[in-house]
Symmetry: C2
């Protein structure tokens, strides 16, 4: 999906909500555990219930890998289901990959050819040649970690160099030499508040993928006030608050209600 | 495997060779492609041929993920095979994971419980709470990226802070507050030459996992001269030079010959 299509979807749905498919067998409604593929059964129900209110979905690979080969099948089935039934949604594999060039190229093949997602989260620590192999695909995106939502983001990401530039700022600045805002987005945690102002000074036009609203304590209002740009420029993720709103057979209805509530808040900012 | 057992294996085998199981269906001998599970068939033959000369094996997950669910099964079978038939080898999953706390905890469960490897490579960008979930397992190790072997390692890892400390040095120093040398190792690329001296000033006692000898151009002699400590302190990885020494039915014999040649070089440094 290209940037213009993404912006059109946001305008049409009046939403910049991404539903994080962090599907945990310990948290899904117990009656689904009898299904042949409980992870996929849960995902399908969540997707169908929330697609009206969401413009993106983000499976985090950790939740699939921990179920081994069965988990990978469930991930692949989820991607195919979204592609077939909800082709207007932006699909992000949250895998935080990154390796030497020939190995990153393999990860790129996995996520952009074998399983046809729109975007992959990538860790910047190994530098340019660990990221560029993901950039050779038309309509595919790298979502590079910049300033994450967790407490540990302060350990290295905020370290200032001799000239006062913090590491996340260096990542934002330098990575723009590798790809523009049609091919690259950045992860910025919702918990970072006014830091969005600093980020927008460096990447005014890029989309930001923003996790950390809800369970992790980030504020949608702050994110919008300091992070939004003329194209919206935000994809705000919510996982647990929507997925696990209810553990009975009414879980999908509850998820829809939660997603709709977030969408309505979002509409007010658009 | 604990540190003392690892050191004993190095002394007994007179080797600190790790064979990187970067198994690529495009590069393995064509006759294996008729096997039910060509990845595992190749790995098993390579392992049996080289186990006399190697103290560690390191499957890089990118090579398994790109075959989807079948790839994961091949990875799991490889781990089980090593555990059963070569229990004296140290088993590193090269996955370069790292995420917010609860997600890193899932990755830890995947690699240390579901598939019983000894160590996992982890990326440091997200800081302490992205790494510590991997540290709660007895006899299991985090191998943290410090100074990698690729060109892009210069982009961020060498950035000096206001007080002159480079990012990789900060990672080495700060991560010692999270775990000691019985639980943590570091990735340092063989291509870094005399930088090993700087690294040994900060982590004199830790094991270093050293990729980049061979195809990537690193020198075993430099690595040993500047990186070795009293316990050896090195696990040097070689992948392509051993795995793809020959593409005929004699591939395993050729791999053994290559591994033996490296082991004999290593013995001279021990």
């Amino acid at each position: 999906m290209n940037k213009n299509e993404l912006i059109q979807n946001i305008r049409r749905k009046k939403s910049f909500l991404c539903v994080g498919l962090d599907t945990d067998l310990k948290k899904i409604p117990p009656h689904l555990l009898n299904d042949d593929d409980p992870i996929f059964a849960f995902n399908r129900a969540i997707i169908d219930a929330t697609a009206e209110y969401a413009i993106a979905y983000k499976p985090n690979l950790a939740f699939y890998e921990c179920a081994g080969a069965r988990g990978w099948l469930a991930f692949e089935k989820t991607v195919r289901y979204l592609r077939e039934h909800h082709p207007d949604t932006f699909l992000i594999a949250d895998a935080k990959r990154g390796d030497i060039g020939n190995t990153s190229a393999l990860y790129a093949r996995t996520f952009f050819e074998e399983t046809d997602v729109d975007a992959l989260t990538v860790a910047p620590y190994m530098g340019e040649d660990s990221v560029t192999p993901f950039l050779g695909y038309d309509g595919k995106w790298v979502v590079l970690l910049a300033l994450t939502s967790n407490k540990g983001s302060a350990d290295f990401q905020l370290t200032a160099s001799a000239d006062g530039e913090r590491l996340f700022e260096r990542v934002l600045r330098q990575s723009q030499e590798w790809a523009d805002d049609e091919r690259m987005m950045y992860v910025v945690g919702a918990t970072q508040g006014r830091m969005f102002e600093d980020i927008r000074r460096i990447v005014p036009r890029h989309f930001l993928l923003v996790p950390g609203v809800g369970a992790q304590g980030g504020s949608l209002d702050e994110v919008c006030r300091y992070g939004m740009n003329a194209d919206c420029g935000l994809i705000v993720n919510s996982s647990r608050a929507i997925l696990y709103a209810d553990r009975t057979e009414a879980f999908a209805t509850a998820a829809a209600r939660e997603a709709r509530a977030v969408q309505q808040q979002m509409a007010a900012y658009l």
